[in-house]
Amino acid sequence: MTAIVSANLLATGRVAYLGREGAWVEDIAEATVYSDAAAAEAELAAAQQRGGALGVVEPFVTGYTRADHRTLPEGRPTMALRDAIRAFGPTVGYGRRAEQGD
């Protein structure tokens, strides 16, 4: 299964993904999708090595396929529910309404 690297941004806590050229992006659609978890782990290790993870907290690798990312909240993505909620926000009122107001 393909995979991505995720974390929370240090300054704001918001969910972020490792994207092009080692940049951390907040939109999962802009995340770089690696061929498998091992490749994602290697990319994360490389980012950490060059200091590219200093601006984030608790980075981790998780399974993800590009086809998953619009199936929540009602659909049942192969992506873990927890990862989907991180990507798209709470499945309940306040969070989403508030996000739209951002």
């Binding site: 907290v57 926000g89 709470p90 306040y94």
Partner: protein, 553 residues
């Protein structure tokens, strides 16, 4: 209400300055996350799924209009316009940026609030009956003693690194509205045979993965010995509590493994040896703190309000509101008003900044400037005149705050669950919303009567599911949200831990299962006067299980 003295203001200001520097160093990269994490947790800053979460202590659930307005201001300025009141009478902000936390802490300090000891293995916010100081059934207001515990336990050097977190709750009434028997220590105000007022002492209750009911280890503790005895309990726990296994580190496990008698002996021995060691409370000090909690000057008024009676007969919704949301006050002609934060399809415990401001306005105008947070995640206006209830009700209605469901099936305790929480294994809020919609018909809900539904999104049981008359625990079974049902729990003075019905239910089926349980109760009860919990205790699990797990034909 208690006001900070120079010492309180000083230590809070020092801590804000210290943490501001720590945040700056973390953002500059000179502190690593490993170094910073314990520091941020000591100041109530968690990292959740979407963002940081900041937990603010509301001591014994009492706050002023000014403090509530500060919450509204913070919600608007630094968050997404709302906050979440918790089962520990705290407030959580779900979206603060770390870089803004020092500014938020300064705003809180300006209204005498802080986030110290809202996380970590220390003595957490001491909670109390939300009706304390107002309820007609109370022996004595327990909050002066909660405040004394707060002062003593804040930054206490001996008890800052306990084996695990430690929670104390107090009630001043025989009706336990503070769930004291599922706390590490529960103090209940009692009178002895001579009429002297003191405390019955409960130790070793808790929920989480191992729910246990506290043991009463002392029938009567003189008030002067409150700190001395608390100190002895904590010393025994600090020395003997397990540090080898996080899941067995709470005092409830120590009490369970050693036995209540052994713990009593150890505590009493320490108490006998040390109880003159400077912790005996001088009466002058008790009086000084008690003076902060004096009942506001409320003139007695007619016990029956003509304005209320006129409205009651003409407005069934108002009549329901009176029946469920108003509790007898100590002073005739007054009431203790619970404002439900559980509207149909709402998120239990959430309030918008506008609602917080509105509640602050109501408290200022009608309730001696005071509000309370209940462990059931509602807000209380503790001192309202009955004559003012129609106006207050109309005002609440205009702000989506007039739900007339206190203590009913839709007044659900619910943790944030997987929608927010990094520890959760399943969502809990959508289940609460679905149940509230299923039971949205007020006449039906009133007919069902007292029924406490409590939902947790993981085994840590922040949503108190073990002590729900109906408890729901969300689990992850092979990637699917699954909900385990328990029946017969109770958090009051007849405390009990619920029994698991059997295999769990899917998210789609759990609301039907709750309705099946309710329908089974209705068909088996002796009459409307037999509440759900009484019926369950009489009937046992059998009829509910039979209704829930009908064999395939």
């Amino acid at each position: 209400m208690y006001r900070y003295d120079e010492f309180d203001a000083g230590f809070v200001a020092e801590r804000v300055a210290q943490f501001t520097d720590q945040v700056e160093r973390r953002l500059a990269g000179t502190l690593s996350e490993d170094q910073f994490k314990p520091l941020r947790l000591m100041n109530g800053v968690y990292l959740q799924l979407h963002a940081y979460m900041l937990r603010v202590a509301i001591p014994y659930g009492t706050l002023s209009s000014r403090q509530m307005r500060c919450f509204a201001h913070i919600a608007r300025t630094y968050d997404k316009g709302y906050g979440h009141f918790t089962t520990r009478q705290n407030l959580q902000f779900n979206w603060p940026a770390l870089k803004d936390v020092p500014a938020i802490l300064r705003e809180l300090a300006a209204v005498e609030m802080h986030c110290i000891q809202t996380s970590g293995n220390c003595i957490r916010n001491t909670t109390a009956d939300q009706f304390a100081g107002a309820a007609a059934d109370e022996i004595e207001d327990p909050r002066p003693y909660a405040e004394i515990i707060r002062q003593w336990s804040s930054l206490h050097p001996e008890f800052s690194f306990l084996p695990r977190k430690f929670k104390i709750a107090l009630t001043g009434a025989p009706s336990d509205r503070a769930a004291i028997q599922v706390h590490d220590i529960g103090y209940q105000v009692v009178k002895d045979a001579m009429g002297e007022v003191g405390f019955a002492v409960y130790v070793g209750g808790g929920q989480g993965r191992t729910p246990l009911i506290a043991h009463r280890i002392r029938e009567f503790l003189p008030k002067a010995d409150l700190l001395s005895y608390t100190n002895s309990i904590l010393r025994v726990y600090n020395l003997e509590g397990r540090r080898d296994n996080k899941f067995k580190a709470r005092i409830k496990i120590l009490v369970h493994e050693k036995g209540a008698d052994a713990i009593r002996e150890a505590v009493e021995a320490d108490f006998a040896a040390n109880h003159d060691a400077g912790l005996t409370l001088p009466q002058g000090e008790i009086d000084r703190i008690t003076a902060y909690f004096t009942l506001p000057d409320l003139a007695a008024r007619p016990q029956v309000s003509a304005a209320v009676e006129a409205r009651r007969t003409s407005d069934p919704a108002f009549a329901r509101f009176l029946a469920r949301n108003v509790f007898p006050h100590k002073v005739p002609g007054h009431g203790v008003l619970t404002v439900s934060l559980k509207p149909t399809d709402g998120i239990p415990g959430d309030a918008t900044a506008e609602q917080m401001d509105h509640l602050a306005d109501l408290a200022q105008r009608y309730s001696a400037d005071e509000l309370r947070v209940s462990h059931e995640q509602n807000i209380v206006l503790p001192h309202v005149r009955l004559d003012d209830l129609p106006a207050i009700y109309d005002s609440l209605r205009a702000n989506d705050l007039a739900a007339d469901n206190v203590g009913l099936v839709s007044d659900i305790i619910c943790c944030p669950g997987l929608d927010y929480c990094a520890l959760a294994t399943a969502r809990s809020i959508p289940i609460a919303q679905a149940i509230s919609k299923r039971f949205a018909e007020p006449e039906r809900t009133a007919e069902i009567g007292d029924l406490r539904v409590k939902i947790s999104g993981c085994i840590n049981a922040c949503g108190h599911h073990h002590v729900g008359h109906i408890g729901i625990l969300g689990l992850d079974k092979a990637g699917q949200e699954t909900y385990q049902l328990t029946l017969g729990g109770s958090a009051d003075e007849r405390c009990s831990i619920g029994d698991i019905t059997g295999r769990g239910f899917s998210a789609e089926r759990i609301v039907d299962a709750v309705e099946t349980v309710v329908d089974t109760y209705l068909s088996h009860r002796t009459g409307a006067e037999e509440s759900f919990i009484d019926a369950y205790r009489r009937l046992g699990m059998k009829p509910f299980k039979e209704a829930l797990y009908v064999p395939a034909a």
